[in-house]
């Protein structure tokens, strides 16, 4: 009567249906098939390449947002960090004539600094993440605008746009490769390293994590610093793509990354979410916007449809969860 049954595998069918990632993966495949049939030129090498390129920025900040959301936090400063990074890096190159490497490093440092501020207030002072990052969003956007009086910076060194347009072997866009490398590393950190366990532990129940010996403040602080750093990289990628420094160029991007994480099975209550799911979420959003654009829908329609997809995806997830709990 008391014999434990260890390792009893569920049926494949049940596993597939019981997993949000596979559900959203099917949605992504369905969308790609739909647009390939319905939108002329969607399934072309050129378009797929630009799709990859477009997803790079959102993909990277989605990875950052995944970490933050798993700790039951939220990072609203992402878009502003992107703007700030492009402005600092291009300003140092164009206005001060500093080498590219120095400019990029300085911009990344600034992004990390924003992460440190976010992490300090959330983890150590105990302010709500929503408020803290909303505050830093306003502050750094303001700083970025004040720095150049709201002007954009153009005429970047040609290496920047060359890199932004460049590919490896003529197939893989450089920017997409940066995203893929980050995705792989961050996925491994989250799933295979002890730090990833702490992230889940803090988000699922921070008191229990502390009682289990996890240095919770340190872990949460590091998550925000990491998020700041990744947003800095996203900012550099953005600069390479638009070949300019623009203070407001990332505005609202944090909403896209939050959507992507949630579509991919992340919970705003913390403790749930994965890089793979969130990345699929990010691709669903870019496929939708590119596909609809090719089909001739305006951006106004795109937002409407994105909104519907978000609510549908989360609804499916909620029903699935409720059902699996009712079964117990």
């Amino acid at each position: 009567m008391n014999t434990p049954v260890v390792k009893e595998k569920g049926s494949m069918f049940k596993k597939v249906l019981g997993n949000q990632i596979s559900v959203v993966f099917f949605i992504l495949i369905a969308l790609i098939i739909f647009f390939s049939v319905g939108a002329k030129g969607f399934f072309s090498a050129y378009n797929l390449k630009s799709l990859l390129q477009q997803t790079a920025v959102i993909g990277i900040i989605t990875v950052a947002q995944t970490f933050v959301i798993i700790t039951s936090g939220i990072d609203l400063s992402q878009g502003a960090i992107i703007g700030l990074t492009t402005l600092i890096a291009s300003g140092m190159m164009v206005d001060l004539g500093l080498p590219i490497g120095v400019a990029v490093l300085a911009a990344l440092l600034a992004a990390v600094l924003v992460g440190v501020v976010n992490g300090f207030f959330v983890a150590h002072v105990g302010l709500p993440a929503f408020i803290t990052t909303l505050g830093t969003q306003y502050i750094i956007r303001s700083i970025a605008l004040l720095a150049k009086g709201g002007n954009d910076i153009y005429n970047l060194p040609p290496e920047i746009s060359n890199f932004g347009r460049g590919t490896i072997g003529g197939v893989f866009p450089n920017l997409a490769i940066i995203m893929i490398v980050i995705v792989v590393i961050m996925h491994l950190i989250l799933k295979k390293f002890s730090f990833g366990r702490y992230v889940y532990a803090c988000g699922s129940n921070v008191t229990a994590a502390r009682f289990s010996g996890v240095k919770t403040k340190k872990a949460i602080f590091l998550v925000y610093v990491l998020a700041g750093f990744l947003c800095g990289i996203a900012g550099i990628v953005m600069m390479c793509r638009i070949n300019a420094g623009i203070a407001v160029c990332g505005d609202g991007y944090e909403m896209n990354s939050i959507c992507a994480v949630v579509i991919g099975g992340g919970s705003l209550f913390g403790g749930e979410g994965s890089i793979s799911g969130a990345l699929i979420g990010a691709f669903i959003m870019s496929v939708l916007s590119t596909g609809l654009q090719i089909m001739g829908f305006s951006t106004y329609w795109q937002q409407l449809i994105t909104g519907i997809v978000l609510i549908l995806a989360v609804m499916v997830d909620t029903i699935r969860r409720r059902r699996s709990q009712g079964m117990e």
Binding site: M1, N2, T3, P4, V5, V6, K7, E8, K9, K192, F193, S194, F195, R197, Y198, Y200, A201, S204, N205, T207, A208, A209, R210, F211, S212, G213, V214, K215, G271, E272, Q325, M327, E328
Partner: protein, 492 residues
């Protein structure tokens, strides 16, 4: 008054209730005994309209009823007082009591005077004095429990289910609750009483139903069933030695030593635990026992005194430091502090080991060896007999007893030398309790130092080599082998 006839219920071909029949009369307290998983909660959920039975009938006052929702049951006069509080702290007592009622609300207008008068009337019936206009948050947990009861009495039920009502109460508060139950019985209500404490059943119940594996094992007068028989009926096998025989494993080597240690409500305490020794910490709820050990593990700050591990002075700033020094704290509050209930069993079991960088699981870079990790969690599941599908099953889906096993397993896996158990048998079934005692004695045999906090004196006497008694923040007495319940009750 209430009659179950041949009730059955299955979940996914798993028969949880199999032909349950019994009766409860007016003005009677009927104890519902059984281990976790015996079918008690399923039966109560059927009675309150949360589940529907697959077969059989429920009669109330001779008429068959079909409840399809909680409000159906409410309307038919079936009330329930849950173990967990569902009150709202910033509303007043009166507002809490009338919260779920629409009686007073004409066009959603709340009649405050009526609300207060009616609530006062309910408490008068219960023999409780309370200012119903104060926010509930100002009262203690036990008062909040009484408000839970008032909430159900307010609806004038004929039958009230008490589901483990005494779990978080002190002895004095428990007495008060029993008085209230007596008052309800005198009024002619029927009470279904669920408790893990056998003494409470004998003290309060007129009749008793024992469930095991979804079947009725006994139905009859409480006093015709002796305690040993009751336990045997509940677990279905003979439990010869409920408490493991105490064989001393105490060594000469001191593991942990507190000198003048304390802070907050805890006065300077001296306490020494040797390797191989199990020390009990007795006392009433609020005596400062949990507060003391929270300072020991660095969860809260201590203000004076020192702590020595293996004879060396140590500084412990948080539970992470405690874990590094080989101290494990098995939390009393499994749901909020002890376990990550939303995560899998394996995740929970492995967490302290990962934090501690257990060499076979985590490399120096922090890389987790999944295969080894899986092996360790499976081993713990088997050795502590956690009943589950596999290591991925979420902890929230386990019974209280199995959750407690997981919350012990996670520490054993990290191999600490000092264990602090806080109310280790709270809310778990008889068989698991006895298993927990075996584990505690087993740890001592392996040479670990163990501190056990419990408000249930008999178990301290049963498993400890020495019992220290705390009262009002001070350690007031120390008893060796041969101590009796009376000795402890007199000093605490």
């Amino acid at each position: 008054m209430l009659e179950f006839i041949n009730i059955s219920k299955s979940f996914f071909k798993n028969k949880v209730l199999d032909g349950i029949s019994f009766k409860a009369e007016s003005g009677e307290i009927l104890a519902l005994a059984g281990q976790n998983g015996a079918g008690k909660s399923t039966l109560m959920k059927i009675l309150t309209g949360i589940y529907q039975a697959d077969g059989g009938q429920i009669l109330i006052d001779g008429k068959e009823v079909h409840f399809t929702s909680v409000s159906d049951a409410d309307a038919a006069g079936v009330g329930i007082v849950y173990q967990e509080l569902s009150v709202i702290p910033h509303l007043t007592v009166a507002e809490n009591v009338v919260l779920s009622q629409n009686v007073n609300r004409r066009f959603h207008y709340l009649n405050k005077k009526k609300e207060i008068a009616q609530t006062e009337e309910v408490f008068r019936r219960l023999g409780v004095e309370i200012d119903v206009t104060r926010p509930l948050g100002e009262y203690t947990a036990s008062t909040q429990q009484l408000v839970e009861i008032a909430k159900s009495i307010y609806k004038n039920p004929k039958l009230v289910i008490f589901d483990e009502p005494t779990t978080s109460l002190t002895n004095k508060e428990r007495e008060k609750l029993f008085e209230v139950m007596d008052a309800m019985r005198k009024e002619g209500m029927t009470i279904l009483f669920i408790t893990h404490y056998l003494e409470e059943m004998y003290r309060m119940a007129d009749k008793c139903v024992v469930l095991r594996d979804g079947r009725v094992q006994y139905y009859g007068a409480m006093n015709q069933l002796d305690k040993g028989e009751l336990v045997n009926l509940m677990i279905g096998q003979r439990l010869d030695a409920f408490y493991p025989k105490i064989e001393s494993y105490v060594t000469e080597k001191t593991a942990v030593e507190l000198s003048g240690f304390g802070g907050g409500i805890v006065a300077p305490c001296d306490l020494k635990i040797n390797y191989g020794e199990v020390v009990g910490l007795a006392g009433l709820v609020g005596a400062g026992r949990t507060e003391l050990v929270w300072m020991m593990i660095g969860h809260t700050k201590h203000s004076y005194g020192s702590i020595k591990i293996d004879g060396r002075d140590v500084t412990i700033k948080d539970p992470g430091d405690a874990l590094d020094l080989g101290i494990a704290y098995i939390n009393e509050d499994r749901k909020n502090g002890g376990l990550h209930t939303g995560m899998g069993i394996g995740f929970n079991i492995l967490l302290p080991s990962i934090v501690k960088n257990r060499a076979d699981i985590v490399s120096s870079t922090g890389y987790i060896n999944d295969k080894e990790a899986r092996r360790v969690s499976d081993e713990m599941i088997v050795s502590l007999e956690v009943k589950c599908v596999d290591a991925d099953q979420k902890v929230m889906t386990l019974s209280g007893g199995n959750q407690q096993k997981v919350s012990i397993a996670k520490w054993i896996a990290a191999d600490p030398q000092i264990y602090i158990f806080d109310e280790p048998t709270k809310g778990i079934d008889v068989l698991t309790k006895s298993r927990v005692y075996d584990i505690i004695r087993g740890l001592a045999k392996d040479g670990k130092a163990v501190l056990v906090i419990s408000s249930y004196t008999p178990e301290l006497i049963g498993v400890c080599d020495r019992v220290e008694v705390m009262s009002k923040g001070k350690i007031v007495a120390s008893f060796g082998q041969g101590v009796t319940e009376n000795d402890i009750l007199l000093v605490q």
